[in-house]
Amino acid sequence: MKARWALILLYVAALAPGFFAPYDPEEQHRDSVFMPPSVAPVRLFVEGPEYLVAGVAPGRLHLAAFDRPAFPLGTDGLGRDQLSRLLHGAQISLYTGLLAALITLAIGAVTGVLAGYFGGWMDGVIMRLTEVFQVLPWLYLLIAVRAALPLHVDPAEAFALTTALIGVIGWARPARMIRGVALGAREKDFVEAARGFGAGEWYILRRHILPQAYGVARTQAALLIPQYILAEVALSFLGLGVAEPVPSLGAMLAPLREYHVMASYWWMFAPSLALIPLSIIVDKSK
């Protein structure tokens, strides 16, 4: 219960990363490239660079600002503040995970209920497809589909694309589980009773079968969200997800593929540490 509130709080906070971030995530401090972490006295609740809340409403108020330039998590190769990028990147990653999970569950619910409730050839076709999707390596499919789409798209499109791709690729497991629920629900007495009262197929599906899939959908969401956040991290790490200059956890880790960055600037590992509490919080809320 506590974990669920922590998660909800995290998602609300992630709506306005600009409020928590001391700098604009894309601002380049060209005289402070690859600066190790440093701190300075802070002032609370001050006006600073403009940011957007939930991607629409502009705001200027920041939680804190430094008296002189300081970077608590250091800076990257372009002199951008790692902390500010991390906060904005967490927003992208968290919402990719959530929205992609919703897409997956929507597809899984429709296909699973259709397969389980109607059975017959529809069940056969859908189940064969889920078997294929469960066996195929998802990252290869993701890369192949991503390659078919424009490589250089604007950040909002890249976010939508990545989210949709991840969401579509993972539909098979929830579909199978929801099919199982629908298969059992079909035989229940109250469904039979509703049919006896003359209820139509769609009414029964909507009022009696789908609500029973809710529990499965919720546990599946708890599994899918962390999994999808990590999928987004992998995709962006490989350079195929959310791209520069917009930060995402995976894109921030991408410079570590270069030897000198990994060996010399240890604070570049900071974003990967953010994945640990993230996955633990999301994992515990199951």
Binding site: V135, W138, A144, R146, A148, L230, A234, S272, I276
Partner: protein, 332 residues
């Protein structure tokens, strides 16, 4: 553990079914990838158009030479006819046949994925079974903490840290598959290069396998037939190896079948970080060059590996579980 049982006919039927299924999946994947590629705005020769000294006519000539000016169903038909003879078309980026490029890499991916999975299973199954048998609170707690740590560490971070370790300590090679001096035939050299990427893959798989192994063994231990065997005075070691483990094998083998897809995906990440020359780096290069033939080849190869893995799983299930060998309606 019996043989494959069920008679030669049953095995042949199973093999035929697997072959048919694999063929259907590969056909589906190739058609989907090919069709998707046609919606892609832009293609390989777009960059050639920008090159100075390249006339529009020259580019059109190149496109015609590779058949890119034809409608896509025609091209798919041609590709399919070639694929039936093992010709997967030319790779435009490498200027070489896709089939030979992919064939070079597919074995390397198989080697890495199989070693990673083998390592994870060899460690996790005995450890999980041990944790289930010796339910001393201290041991169970230490195991649980260790597993929680491996679970919490993101796969990417594990691989990056292993690479950092290799670079700092110099104990093990941090990238590639062979030393610059050695050629591919030096097995010890390849194995040394294999260690870190395989460990990275294994560490990511470990927690799930451990948890399944522990719960499968613990569950079987609670089954009535084990109680009966215990009451008959079967010694603990024989009980574990002869009675419990064979019965617990089914869920573990099924787990392997379900994780093949993630195994290849994990292997792709490890290949990229450790510059292991497998299918992963190949498909990434193909994706950034927009080389659709090569992307298709790499995806098909990964699908083939996955289907082969799932076929092996099916055979192993048949060998391990007599209930699956029994023909429908008949007796074993």
């Amino acid at each position: 553990m019996g043989g494959l049982g069920g008679g030669v006919g049953a095995v042949l039927t199973a093999v035929a079914r697997v072959a048919l299924r694999t063929g259907a999946v590969l056909l589906l994947v190739s058609l989907a990838t090919f069709a998707l590629g046609q919606f892609a705005p832009g293609e390989f020769f777009d960059e050639a158009r920008l090159a100075p000294g390249m006339s529009a006519g020259a580019v059109d000539g190149l496109r015609a030479r590779y058949g890119l000016d034809r409608p896509w169903p025609v091209r798919y038909g041609r590709w399919l006819a070639g694929a039936a003879h093992g010709d997967l078309g030319p790779s435009l980026a490498y200027n070489a046949p896709v089939a030979s490029l992919v064939a070079e890499r597919v074995g390397n991916t198989l080697l890495l994925a199989a070693s990673g999975a083998g390592l994870a299973w060899l460690i996790a199954v005995p450890w999980g079974a041990w944790a289930a048998v010796r339910a001393q609170p201290s041991i169970a707690r230490v195991s649980a903490v260790l597993i929680a740590v491996t679970l919490a560490l993101p796969d990417l971070l594990v691989a990056l840290l292993l690479r950092l370790f290799a670079l700092r300590s110099g104990l093990l090679p941090a990238s590639g598959m062979t030393s610059p001096a050695a050629d591919g035939s030096d097995l010890a050299d390849v194995l040394r290069h294999l260690i870190l990427p395989a460990v990275a893959v294994a560490l990511s798989l470990l927690p799930a396998v451990w948890r399944h192994a522990r719960s499968a063994v613990a569950e079987t231990f609670r089954a009535p037939f084990v109680l009966a065997a215990k009451a008959n005075g079967i010694p603990p070691a024989r009980l574990l190896f002869r009675h419990v483990l064979p019965a617990a094998a089914n869920p573990l083998i099924s787990l392997f079948g379900l994780t093949i897809g993630s195994l290849l995906s994990l292997s792709l990440i490890a290949e990229t970080i450790f510059a292991w020359p497998g299918l992963g780096p190949l498909i990434l290069e193909a994706a950034s060059a927009r080389d659709m033939n090569l992307i298709l080849g790499a995806v098909l190869a990964s699908a083939l590996l996955a289907m082969a893995g799932s076929a092996v799983t099916d055979l192993a299930l048949r060998a391990a579980d007599p209930r699956i060998r029994r023909p429908a309606g008949g007796r074993p």
